[in-house]
Structures are given as C-alpha cells and as structure tokens.
C-alpha cells in the first residue's frame, strides 16, 4: 500500500504531531504510516479522510505487491 499522506499534510500545513493529535494516535504512528511501515485500520483511514476532506482512495493506493 502506498500513500500520499505527507503531501496532504503539507497542503494543510500540518506537522506529524498536529495530524497525530487530530486523529488520536502517536506521532510515531503517523511517521510509520507515511513511511509505508504500517497500514492503518479502516477507522484510522476514515479519520484521515475526514481531516483531509478527501476520499480515502485519493491518498491510499494499492501497490503491485498487494
């Protein structure tokens, strides 16, 4: 799974810490998601979608090995 959360975060001018606080996770979790080390749950993906104001598909994409 690939994502463009870093880009979406930059558009909204949010730090990892800000985004983490908004969706109720730790900063390290946001860092891991951005680095594709962790695939978040549907609940977390929908919370991100709410913050970014875009559908989940816009910032999460399946990669060839999924």
């Amino acid at each position: 799974m690939e994502n463009t959360i870093k880009v979406e975060r930059a558009i909204l001018n949010l730090t990892q810490g800000d985004l983490a606080e908004k969706i109720g996770v730790s900063r390290q979790t946001i860092n891991s998601i951005e680095a594709n080390r962790y695939v978040p749950s549907t609940v977390l993906a929908l919370k991100l979608s709410e913050v970014f104001g875009k559908p989940v598909n816009n910032f999460f994409k399946l990669s060839s090995d999924d």
Binding site: V25, S26, Q28, T29, N31, S32, Y38, P40, V43, L44
Partner: protein
C-alpha cells in the same frame, strides 16, 4: 431481545475481550513490585539466615506478577499500532518460550556434564524459569519494536 440487540451485545462482548488491557498506572505499579521483589531477593540471599524457601517462592511469584502487570498495562500513548506491536511481541515471546523450554534442559545437562565428570541428571526446567524468560522476551521485543516504528 431483538436480533440487532443480540448482535450488538455479542460485538461489545468480543470488543471487551479483544481490547482488554490494564490502565497505564499498572505499568508503574508493576515496576515498583519488580523493584521491591529484587531488593528483597538480595536481602534474603545475603542478610537473612535460615531456611527461607517460602519467602523465595513468594518473591519469585511477586517478580512474575510485576512483569505481568507491566506486560498487560496500556502504553502512555496507546494506539492501534502499539496494540499490533504488542501482539507481535507476544508471538515472539511464545515462540522463544517454547524453544527455550525444549532446548534448555539439554544445554543444562550438556554444560553440567562437560564441566564435571558427574554432572547434573537430566531434568526439565521449572515453570518460573520459562515464565520469566517469556515475559522478559515480550517486554524486550515490545520496546524494541516500539523504538523501530
């Protein structure tokens, strides 16, 4: 009870079981218990005289209880990733515990007989040793995984 209520009730029950963890305060309580147990172990070994087998057993159990509390207490910033890392650390601890219980009796026997002509007889390791090892592996793996995230 309607069908929907029944399904909701089952879902809540399952969620409670899946999400069972103690509050973060228990982590500190566990550390205090471990600290006290270790100090008392030293006191028993070097300061107290006579047969202290009951105290020794109690202190061993206290040590395990303290580690168990640390193991199942919530993290300060608990989120779904931390939960996943904890689950993974239990998997590693389980595997390591089984391998340890299988191999250590042979290692003990081999080392003992290699060093002395008449070493120890072959015997299984005790429950305390296995549980202590598993809890140590779980706590170490959990913290290592958290650092790596």
């Amino acid at each position: 009870m309607g069908k929907q209520n029944y399904i909701e009730c089952e879902r809540r029950g399952l969620e409670k079981l899946i999400n069972f963890r103690l509050p973060h305060n228990f982590y500190t309580i566990g550390m205090v218990i471990i600290g006290a147990a270790i100090v008392m172990m030293f006191v028993r070994a070097f300061a107290l005289e006579g047969d202290q087998n009951v105290l020794k057993e109690v202190l061993r159990k206290l040590l395990l209880v303290g580690m168990l509390l640390m193991s199942i207490a919530k993290d300060k910033d608990e989120d779904e990733m931390v939960v996943k890392l904890r689950m993974q650390s239990y998997t590693y601890a389980f595997i390591a515990g089984v391998v340890y219980a299988l191999i250590m009796p042979f290692v003990d026997y081999g080392v003992s007989n290699a060093l002395k002509a008449e070493g120890e007889a072959f015997h299984d390791i005790g429950d305390f040793q296995v549980l202590l090892f598993m809890l140590m592996i779980q706590l170490l793996c959990f913290h290592a995984l958290k650092r790596m995230r």
